[in-house]
Symmetry: C2
Subunit: 362 residues, 2 copies
Amino acid sequence: MLTRVKSAVANFMGGVVAGGANGDCSGSDLPLKFPYMRPEFLGLTPDEIECSADHIARPILILKETKRLPWATGYAEVINAGKSALNEDQACCEVVVVRKRPGDSTTPSKTPTAKRRSSLPNEEGLGLKENSADSEGLVFHYWALFDGHAGSGAAVVASKLLQHHIVEQLQSVLEVLKNHAVLPPTIFGEKSNHQMTPGIHRATLTRAASLRGATGAPSSPCTPPPQRLFTEKKIQHDSLVMGAMENAFKEMDAQIEKEKQMYNITGGCTALCVVYLLGMLYVGNAGDSRAIIIRDGKVIPMSTEFTPESERQRLQFLGFMQPHLLGGEFTHLEFPRRVQRKEVGKRMLYRDFTMNGWWYRI
Amino acid sequence: MLTRVKSAVANFMGGVVAGGANGDCSGSDLPLKFPYMRPEFLGLTPDEIECSADHIARPILILKETKRLPWATGYAEVINAGKSALNEDQACCEVVVVRKRPGDSTTPSKTPTAKRRSSLPNEEGLGLKENSADSEGLVFHYWALFDGHAGSGAAVVASKLLQHHIVEQLQSVLEVLKNHAVLPPTIFGEKSNHQMTPGIHRATLTRAASLRGATGAPSSPCTPPPQRLFTEKKIQHDSLVMGAMENAFKEMDAQIEKEKQMYNITGGCTALCVVYLLGMLYVGNAGDSRAIIIRDGKVIPMSTEFTPESERQRLQFLGFMQPHLLGGEFTHLEFPRRVQRKEVGKRMLYRDFTMNGWWYRI
């Protein structure tokens, strides 16, 4: 990590340095996992890819006339002048099919062989019926953005593979998701107790209602039978999709960490992905990008960024519980500025992880 | 704790049991810290206090004709029938003066002798000029609500003392708060670097602006001089008041924990308090109560409740880091219902502290 910081500082001080094929100066002898590229849906030629990294002209790249993305998704990019030799950000847009694993019964095998067909969205892709689920599988729309830091390697790998991880997770609950009539069973493979009755999961038994039941108030003919107070949460299908995406993020992260031993995968990246499946739009985010919908000229934010402020208390708490994770550079306390040696022992403004306000340390 | 649960269950099963002076059956030989009461501003006679605990009539208590609370604050209470012998909730409303500690110079002594005058708000109290700060001190309006659980003891103590803790905290920064012209200094007692320029603390230097500065763009005569990129956070006066309230909550909690050794202080309580000081309204909350303002018939929520859902991930993380805190009753994983012995080893729905979705545990 320190090497990376030093290298970043050196690059900054010396201006833009011509990097290797992946735009980094890591000097690694390991092979690349994937070659450096721009988003596949831009359909750039190798020449155009080279031009895209021109720090003087800084061309704005948009979709070619012949290309379209689903839902009139907009796309434009330009290189961040003077910051890195190549554009470290990556993006992906696909229509993805989740198919049953071969030989998969109710209980999926523990060594899944993910079979997956994906296509660039085009007229054919757009022609797919929304919510479509053929006899075999499920289709989802997928958009993703990865903001690379200190190298493009992780962003390139994530833009190639995150959707595969989502497919692999969804495969294991394919039958549950396709069974609209009943809610996901609490025990996998067993019969679900709960019929899918839209809306009822949001209805809570008010205390007033339960008291009325308890006091045996006479019920009119149209009063429904008294509800049983369930002590079991009803989990909806959408919660499973969220769980699948959360697991896919973790798996992607673990894979990059592991494969850094075998491949030259530089830097890190944020991840923002949008999945449209079975009539619902899901947004997963880790980092400081934001998904938006523009409707009638108004911006509707669809995700919330991780910022030093929004993550402050969590990081300070982690620094309190596991100080070694902050590498000796920080404590679990925040000060308005770096504390100087001569100030140690004085009453200085600070806040800890339980605070939103500030106070003088005594 | 277990004793308390057993006792609560016994009370519930056997109906309402007449409690001691504080409405609890703790059987403690320790003296009470404060006698059981209803909010002071209701001005109830001992007879009326007794009547207020009538579980059959359940009188709704409101302010007497001759009483008023500042800002047309509403108040109504009724006993929670059959739940506990006495109403465990408490409330307080005062106009409080924070005075300089005797002999206090810039650096407050480490053994503060809090001198404080408080009065029930009445015509005299209401007549106090808002934002008033005489030569000696500061005045604030104070409203607080404490929802007692498993006994009224903690709620009674907090309703009597929380405002004293706030005063004690504010005393130590009295001079800083009264000095409107400059922001609180980073080092206590030293000169502040920052003049108070309203609004500027919210202005951030955009990257575009910093780049313009860096490239030496010619500036027009009305362009302000290029801003220096401060690496020091400017802390506002309001952040200090927030810090004071946060510290007061912690001090109150610590005092109750400590004094439970010496006094019969039963149960626990939530704490919701509102402070109006120097033209700002501050709301501090711990628990599932909510402060609201009603304006033109519309409810404006002023605080957010702690609920099992809003606190879930924090508690699960704590259970992961320090499992003993969950007393062997819970793990850091959530399941839709209690797991039965025969289900151990099956793939069951769960979510951990990093998840919002659900997944099948393998």
